[in-house]
């Protein structure tokens, strides 16, 4: 495990050192419909912190760090492909045994495909389709998105509708995820944007019953230079429900499959 971890970070560091220029994003959870121009290449570093569940679900002081390194390439002006390395580090205290649990795991590789159908510069709304398969040995995932967006002067919005299927336990269990996210931001000069993101995430195990739903809302800020950009979103959960009872002991939040706060930082470097 340690060798895997060291290799993972060594690759990440090497990619960071060789990085140069970017396809600037205003949001971190919602994609915008732009794709790279043909021949453009970018390195992206993703860091997501999902923090705080409850002791009722056996996960006191829960923290999950999701780390992704991505290399993105504009195959044509309308089609962009991105290759990801995924990892996560999870820690919590099990209240019944008072034991601390901490684990880093490599979450496999994924290939993101984005195809722009409608250019927002020439149509009323920009439209891009997204397909991302992920493979990690004994588990796999397939994610699809419909990405809409447009800008009006200094304002920009994006709306994503996402569905994902995750196969785990050597492909013996299946979980469906449905998500809608919306972001709106305003540019303040050539470098800064400030906005809001809203996200509703739902889990549907085995596609048999709608297990839960959690809504997050929070500010997003982004900064861009010619060769790099960064975006940060802090999203507390504002409402959540578990439709199979109340396992987390919280009426208005869903803290079994979701957290009190999600924070995501993206950094992009253009080549």
């Amino acid at each position: 495990m340690q060798i895997k971890t060291i290799t993972f970070w060594a690759i990440a560091a090497a990619l960071l050192q060789s990085s140069l220029r970017a396809d600037e994003r205003r949001f971190t959870y919602s994609y915008e419909p732009e794709t790279h121009t043909k021949g453009a290449m970018e390195f992206e570093q993703w860091v997501t912190l999902r923090s705080q569940r409850t002791k009722e679900v056996g996960q006191q002081n829960f923290n999950l760090w999701e780390i992704r390194e991505a290399l993105e390439y504009g195959v044509t002006d309308n089609y962009t492909v991105e290759f990801y390395l995924n990892g996560k580090s999870e820690s919590f205290r099990e209240p019944s045994t008072a034991e601390n649990f901490s684990k880093f795991s490599f979450e496999g590789v994924s290939i993101e495909n984005r195809y722009m159908l409608l250019n927002q510069g020439t149509h009323a709304v920009g439209l891009t389709l997204y397909l991302e398969p992920r493979f990690a040995g004994d588990e796999a995932e397939l994610e699809e998105k419909v990405i809409l967006g447009q800008r009006y002067g200094d304002w920009k919005w994006a709306f994503n509708l996402t569905h994902a299927t995750e196969w785990a336990d050597n492909f013996h269990s299946t979980e469906g995820e449905v998500e809608a996210s919306f972001g709106v931001a305003r540019d303040f000069g050539p470098h800064w944007s400030i906005g809001l993101e809203l996200r509703d995430h739902n889990e549907v195990p085995e596609y048999r019953h709608w297990e839960n739903s959690a809504i997050f809302l929070g500010p997003t800020v982004s900064y861009r230079q010619e060769k790099w950009w960064g975006a940060l979103t802090v999203m507390p959960q504002i409402y959540g429900a578990n439709f199979g009872g109340d396992p987390d002991g919280h009426r208005n939040l869903e803290l079994e499959g979701h957290e009190r706060v999600n924070v995501r930082l993206l950094l992009g470097f253009d080549f």
């Binding site: 121009t37 002006d77 510069g121 149509h123 699809e144 419909v146 299927t165 596609y207 010619e226």
Partner: protein, 111 residues
Amino acid sequence: MRVKTEKLWVPALLVAIIAGCQNTGSRMSSGSLPEPTRTAGLSEAELAHGRILLANKCAKCHKFHDPANYDNAEWHMWMRKMSRKAHLTAPEEAELSRYLSLYRPERTAQR
């Protein structure tokens, strides 16, 4: 891997959207891009191609910055910078430059 019929609605929806959009995808709507004020001897084909370059290499990523609002030095500086960023080839850069000069006052554009 078990696939149930209720899981197929998303792929079906995506296929329907792709099919629907492909029918109109090649049509270049006027969208939010203004037309240049003159043609300065460019052929219909050159005008059309210049407009496609403007849409795909510029307007896809940022709002339209009217070339008429820049002096020569500023404009050439931005053209160079953004051509690098958009990975334009030399012929594409020259073609786009010619097309965008149509948005500038004739006397300024010739300099």
